[in-house]
Amino acid sequence: MKYSMILVALLSFSGVNADEKVEQPHEIRNTTINIECPAGECSTPSNSMTQLEVPSRDTNTLDKNERMIISVIGQGVAPTDTLSPAQAYAMAKRAATADAYRLIAEKVKGVKVEGQDLIKNMMVQRSSIRTSVAAMIRNANLVETTFKEGLCEVEMEITLYHSDFMQ
Protein backbone atom coordinates (compact mmCIF):
# COMPACT_ATOMS: atom_id res chain seq x y z
CA MET A 1 0.00 0.00 0.00
CA LYS A 2 2.77 2.35 0.90
CA TYR A 3 4.66 1.56 -2.28
CA SER A 4 1.58 1.91 -4.42
CA MET A 5 0.92 5.39 -3.00
CA ILE A 6 4.49 6.41 -3.82
CA LEU A 7 4.09 5.01 -7.35
CA VAL A 8 0.85 6.96 -7.91
CA ALA A 9 2.49 10.11 -6.61
CA LEU A 10 5.48 9.65 -8.91
CA LEU A 11 3.24 8.99 -11.93
CA SER A 12 1.10 12.05 -11.32
CA PHE A 13 4.22 14.20 -10.83
CA SER A 14 5.74 12.97 -14.10
CA GLY A 15 2.38 13.57 -15.88
CA VAL A 16 2.35 17.19 -14.75
CA ASN A 17 5.95 17.72 -15.84
CA ALA A 18 5.40 16.08 -19.24
CA ASP A 19 3.79 19.24 -20.64
CA GLU A 20 6.74 21.35 -19.59
CA LYS A 21 9.35 19.09 -21.13
CA VAL A 22 10.79 20.39 -24.37
CA GLU A 23 13.46 17.86 -25.17
CA GLN A 24 12.58 14.26 -25.72
CA PRO A 25 15.94 12.73 -26.54
CA HIS A 26 14.74 9.27 -27.48
CA GLU A 27 12.05 10.42 -29.94
CA ILE A 28 13.11 13.43 -31.98
CA ARG A 29 16.80 13.89 -31.45
CA ASN A 30 17.77 12.54 -34.88
CA THR A 31 15.14 14.35 -36.95
CA THR A 32 15.19 18.02 -37.85
CA ILE A 33 12.01 19.65 -39.12
CA ASN A 34 12.00 23.38 -39.73
CA ILE A 35 8.61 24.88 -40.36
CA GLU A 36 8.16 28.61 -40.60
CA CYS A 37 4.87 29.89 -39.36
CA PRO A 38 3.59 33.41 -38.90
CA ALA A 39 3.64 34.58 -35.30
CA GLY A 40 0.67 33.52 -33.28
CA GLU A 41 -0.69 31.01 -35.81
CA CYS A 42 1.31 27.96 -34.81
CA SER A 43 0.36 27.53 -31.17
CA THR A 44 0.84 23.77 -30.85
CA PRO A 45 3.31 21.52 -32.59
CA SER A 46 0.58 19.38 -34.14
CA ASN A 47 -1.02 22.43 -35.82
CA SER A 48 2.30 23.65 -37.16
CA MET A 49 2.93 20.29 -38.81
CA THR A 50 -0.34 20.39 -40.75
CA GLN A 51 -0.25 24.05 -41.81
CA LEU A 52 1.82 23.59 -44.94
CA GLU A 53 1.31 26.25 -47.59
CA VAL A 54 -0.78 25.07 -50.51
CA PRO A 55 -1.18 27.54 -53.37
CA SER A 56 -4.78 28.56 -53.66
CA ARG A 57 -6.68 28.13 -56.94
CA ASP A 58 -7.12 31.87 -57.31
CA THR A 59 -3.39 32.55 -57.65
CA ASN A 60 -3.19 32.29 -61.45
CA THR A 61 -6.62 33.47 -62.50
CA LEU A 62 -6.96 36.45 -64.79
CA ASP A 63 -9.14 39.11 -63.24
CA LYS A 64 -11.08 41.78 -65.07
CA ASN A 65 -9.03 44.73 -66.34
CA GLU A 66 -5.89 42.63 -66.04
CA ARG A 67 -3.67 41.23 -68.72
CA MET A 68 -1.21 38.38 -68.86
CA ILE A 69 1.77 38.30 -71.21
CA ILE A 70 2.99 34.87 -72.22
CA SER A 71 6.44 34.81 -73.75
CA VAL A 72 8.09 31.77 -75.32
CA ILE A 73 11.20 30.96 -77.35
CA GLY A 74 10.75 28.55 -80.23
CA GLN A 75 13.64 26.70 -81.84
CA GLY A 76 14.07 25.53 -85.40
CA VAL A 77 16.90 23.86 -87.26
CA ALA A 78 18.14 24.77 -90.72
CA PRO A 79 18.18 21.85 -93.15
CA THR A 80 21.54 20.80 -94.53
CA ASP A 81 20.51 20.44 -98.19
CA THR A 82 19.62 24.05 -98.96
CA LEU A 83 20.54 26.09 -102.01
CA SER A 84 21.71 29.14 -100.06
CA PRO A 85 22.21 30.34 -96.47
CA ALA A 86 19.24 32.64 -96.91
CA GLN A 87 17.00 29.70 -97.72
CA ALA A 88 18.34 27.83 -94.70
CA TYR A 89 17.60 30.84 -92.52
CA ALA A 90 14.08 31.23 -93.88
CA MET A 91 13.27 27.55 -93.39
CA ALA A 92 14.73 27.49 -89.88
CA LYS A 93 12.69 30.55 -88.99
CA ARG A 94 9.48 28.88 -90.15
CA ALA A 95 10.25 25.85 -88.01
CA ALA A 96 11.10 28.04 -85.02
CA THR A 97 7.85 30.00 -85.44
CA ALA A 98 5.85 26.78 -85.49
CA ASP A 99 7.63 25.66 -82.33
CA ALA A 100 6.86 28.97 -80.63
CA TYR A 101 3.19 28.62 -81.56
CA ARG A 102 3.18 25.14 -80.13
CA LEU A 103 4.69 26.37 -76.85
CA ILE A 104 2.08 29.12 -76.56
CA ALA A 105 -0.71 26.64 -77.25
CA GLU A 106 0.71 24.28 -74.62
CA LYS A 107 0.78 27.04 -72.03
CA VAL A 108 -2.64 28.48 -72.78
CA LYS A 109 -4.69 25.43 -73.65
CA GLY A 110 -2.77 22.46 -72.31
CA VAL A 111 -1.46 19.19 -73.67
CA LYS A 112 -3.22 15.90 -74.19
CA VAL A 113 -0.93 13.09 -73.06
CA GLU A 114 -1.42 9.42 -73.73
CA GLY A 115 1.04 6.80 -72.56
CA GLN A 116 1.31 3.11 -73.28
CA ASP A 117 3.78 0.51 -72.02
CA LEU A 118 3.95 -3.05 -73.28
CA ILE A 119 5.38 -5.41 -70.69
CA LYS A 120 6.20 -9.01 -71.58
CA ASN A 121 7.79 -11.54 -69.26
CA MET A 122 8.28 -8.84 -66.65
CA MET A 123 10.25 -6.70 -69.14
CA VAL A 124 9.26 -3.50 -70.90
CA GLN A 125 9.05 -4.33 -74.60
CA ARG A 126 7.79 -1.00 -75.88
CA SER A 127 7.13 2.30 -74.22
CA SER A 128 5.30 5.00 -76.14
CA ILE A 129 4.03 8.43 -75.19
CA ARG A 130 1.80 10.44 -77.51
CA THR A 131 1.18 14.11 -76.90
CA SER A 132 -1.00 16.43 -78.93
CA VAL A 133 -1.94 20.09 -78.87
CA ALA A 134 -4.67 21.81 -80.87
CA ALA A 135 -5.46 25.50 -80.60
CA MET A 136 -6.26 28.66 -82.51
CA ILE A 137 -3.91 31.57 -81.80
CA ARG A 138 -4.54 35.18 -82.73
CA ASN A 139 -2.49 38.34 -82.19
CA ALA A 140 0.82 36.67 -81.50
CA ASN A 141 3.78 39.02 -81.68
CA LEU A 142 7.15 38.01 -83.01
CA VAL A 143 9.56 39.87 -80.75
CA GLU A 144 13.04 38.77 -81.76
CA THR A 145 14.76 36.32 -84.08
CA THR A 146 18.29 35.02 -83.67
CA PHE A 147 20.16 32.63 -85.95
CA LYS A 148 23.36 31.01 -84.83
CA GLU A 149 25.13 27.88 -86.06
CA GLY A 150 22.13 26.51 -87.88
CA LEU A 151 19.75 27.02 -84.98
CA CYS A 152 17.09 29.69 -85.23
CA GLU A 153 15.40 31.00 -82.10
CA VAL A 154 12.21 33.01 -82.26
CA GLU A 155 10.89 34.90 -79.27
CA MET A 156 7.15 35.20 -79.44
CA GLU A 157 4.67 36.69 -77.02
CA ILE A 158 0.95 36.91 -76.68
CA THR A 159 -1.13 39.14 -74.44
CA LEU A 160 -4.17 37.58 -72.85
CA TYR A 161 -7.09 39.62 -71.60
CA HIS A 162 -9.98 38.56 -69.43
CA SER A 163 -12.38 39.33 -72.27
CA ASP A 164 -10.61 36.79 -74.52
CA PHE A 165 -12.08 33.98 -72.45
CA MET A 166 -15.61 35.37 -72.26
CA GLN A 167 -18.11 33.55 -74.45
Partner: protein, 138 residues
Protein backbone atom coordinates in the same frame (compact mmCIF):
# COMPACT_ATOMS: atom_id res chain seq x y z
CA UNK B 1 -20.17 87.35 -104.02
CA UNK B 2 -17.81 85.06 -105.98
CA UNK B 3 -15.97 86.04 -109.08
CA UNK B 4 -15.71 83.92 -112.19
CA UNK B 5 -12.03 83.19 -111.57
CA UNK B 6 -12.73 82.02 -108.02
CA UNK B 7 -15.24 79.43 -109.20
CA UNK B 8 -12.81 78.23 -111.81
CA UNK B 9 -10.13 77.53 -109.22
CA UNK B 10 -12.67 75.85 -106.95
CA UNK B 11 -13.81 73.50 -109.68
CA UNK B 12 -10.17 72.80 -110.57
CA UNK B 13 -9.48 71.83 -106.97
CA UNK B 14 -12.50 69.54 -106.90
CA UNK B 15 -11.42 67.79 -110.09
CA UNK B 16 -7.91 67.40 -108.69
CA UNK B 17 -9.24 65.83 -105.49
CA UNK B 18 -11.48 63.45 -107.44
CA UNK B 19 -8.59 62.49 -109.72
CA UNK B 20 -6.33 61.91 -106.72
CA UNK B 21 -8.89 59.68 -104.98
CA UNK B 22 -9.43 57.68 -108.18
CA UNK B 23 -5.69 57.22 -108.64
CA UNK B 24 -5.33 56.00 -105.05
CA UNK B 25 -7.60 53.03 -105.64
CA UNK B 26 -6.68 52.02 -109.14
CA UNK B 27 -7.73 48.45 -108.73
CA UNK B 28 -9.43 46.86 -105.75
CA UNK B 29 -10.52 43.30 -105.33
CA UNK B 30 -11.26 40.55 -102.87
CA UNK B 31 -9.09 37.49 -102.59
CA UNK B 32 -9.30 34.23 -100.70
CA UNK B 33 -6.00 33.31 -99.11
CA UNK B 34 -5.05 30.15 -97.27
CA UNK B 35 -1.66 29.27 -95.90
CA UNK B 36 -0.31 26.12 -94.36
CA UNK B 37 3.04 24.77 -93.36
CA UNK B 38 4.24 21.64 -91.72
CA UNK B 39 7.35 21.09 -89.65
CA UNK B 40 8.68 17.68 -88.72
CA UNK B 41 11.31 17.32 -86.00
CA UNK B 42 12.03 21.06 -86.03
CA UNK B 43 12.61 21.05 -89.81
CA UNK B 44 10.33 22.69 -92.36
CA UNK B 45 8.66 19.88 -94.29
CA UNK B 46 6.04 21.48 -96.52
CA UNK B 47 4.64 24.94 -97.14
CA UNK B 48 1.75 26.06 -99.30
CA UNK B 49 0.19 29.44 -99.99
CA UNK B 50 -3.05 29.45 -101.99
CA UNK B 51 -4.47 32.66 -103.44
CA UNK B 52 -7.67 32.89 -105.42
CA UNK B 53 -9.67 35.89 -106.60
CA UNK B 54 -13.13 35.92 -105.15
CA UNK B 55 -15.91 35.40 -107.67
CA UNK B 56 -18.51 37.02 -105.49
CA UNK B 57 -18.51 39.69 -102.86
CA UNK B 58 -17.27 38.63 -99.42
CA UNK B 59 -19.18 39.35 -96.26
CA UNK B 60 -17.51 40.96 -93.28
CA UNK B 61 -15.82 44.12 -92.18
CA UNK B 62 -12.15 44.98 -92.60
CA UNK B 63 -10.11 44.28 -89.47
CA UNK B 64 -6.32 44.07 -89.56
CA UNK B 65 -4.49 45.57 -92.49
CA UNK B 66 -0.99 45.68 -93.94
CA UNK B 67 0.63 47.79 -96.64
CA UNK B 68 3.33 46.52 -99.01
CA UNK B 69 5.40 48.65 -101.32
CA UNK B 70 5.45 47.53 -104.94
CA UNK B 71 8.33 48.02 -107.34
CA UNK B 72 6.60 46.96 -110.53
CA UNK B 73 3.03 47.96 -111.25
CA UNK B 74 2.11 44.70 -112.95
CA UNK B 75 3.03 42.43 -110.06
CA UNK B 76 0.21 40.13 -109.01
CA UNK B 77 -0.72 39.52 -105.39
CA UNK B 78 1.20 36.25 -105.09
CA UNK B 79 4.41 37.88 -106.30
CA UNK B 80 3.97 40.80 -103.93
CA UNK B 81 3.37 38.49 -100.98
CA UNK B 82 6.37 36.32 -101.91
CA UNK B 83 8.58 39.40 -101.99
CA UNK B 84 7.39 40.53 -98.55
CA UNK B 85 6.82 37.16 -96.98
CA UNK B 86 8.30 37.97 -93.57
CA UNK B 87 5.90 40.87 -93.10
CA UNK B 88 3.02 38.81 -94.44
CA UNK B 89 3.87 36.00 -92.02
CA UNK B 90 3.64 38.44 -89.09
CA UNK B 91 0.39 39.80 -90.45
CA UNK B 92 -1.08 36.31 -90.75
CA UNK B 93 -0.15 35.57 -87.15
CA UNK B 94 -2.22 38.59 -86.12
CA UNK B 95 -5.19 37.37 -88.15
CA UNK B 96 -5.03 33.96 -86.49
CA UNK B 97 -3.41 30.62 -87.11
CA UNK B 98 -4.65 27.20 -86.18
CA UNK B 99 -2.04 24.93 -84.68
CA UNK B 100 -2.01 21.15 -84.48
CA UNK B 101 0.94 19.42 -82.92
CA UNK B 102 1.54 15.71 -82.57
CA UNK B 103 4.45 14.14 -80.80
CA UNK B 104 5.28 10.49 -80.32
CA UNK B 105 8.04 9.12 -78.17
CA UNK B 106 8.70 5.43 -78.69
CA UNK B 107 11.45 3.81 -76.66
CA UNK B 108 12.83 7.26 -75.89
CA UNK B 109 13.03 8.27 -79.57
CA UNK B 110 10.98 11.36 -80.27
CA UNK B 111 9.14 12.33 -83.46
CA UNK B 112 7.09 15.49 -83.75
CA UNK B 113 4.85 17.08 -86.36
CA UNK B 114 3.47 20.61 -86.21
CA UNK B 115 0.91 21.97 -88.65
CA UNK B 116 0.13 25.68 -88.80
CA UNK B 117 -2.87 26.67 -90.87
CA UNK B 118 -4.47 29.93 -91.90
CA UNK B 119 -7.97 28.83 -92.79
CA UNK B 120 -9.29 30.18 -96.07
CA UNK B 121 -9.99 33.83 -95.31
CA UNK B 122 -11.27 36.62 -97.52
CA UNK B 123 -8.99 39.65 -97.88
CA UNK B 124 -9.75 42.97 -99.47
CA UNK B 125 -6.81 44.07 -101.60
CA UNK B 126 -6.32 47.61 -102.94
CA UNK B 127 -3.71 47.91 -105.68
CA UNK B 128 -2.26 51.39 -106.00
CA UNK B 129 0.59 53.01 -107.87
CA UNK B 130 3.34 52.16 -105.45
CA UNK B 131 1.74 50.16 -102.69
CA UNK B 132 -0.80 47.45 -101.98
CA UNK B 133 -3.11 47.44 -99.00
CA UNK B 134 -4.37 44.07 -97.74
CA UNK B 135 -7.22 43.95 -95.23
CA UNK B 136 -8.64 40.86 -93.57
CA UNK B 137 -12.43 40.66 -93.68
CA UNK B 138 -14.32 39.23 -90.73
Amino acid sequence: MRSGDGNYTLSLRLYAIIFFLCSLALNAGEYYISYRYITKNALLYNESLQISKSMQKCDGNPTQSIVFETVKENDDLKTIIDKNFDQFSNFVSKVGLEIKHYEKTTNYINNSTTILTLKTTCFKVDFNDSFVKIQALK
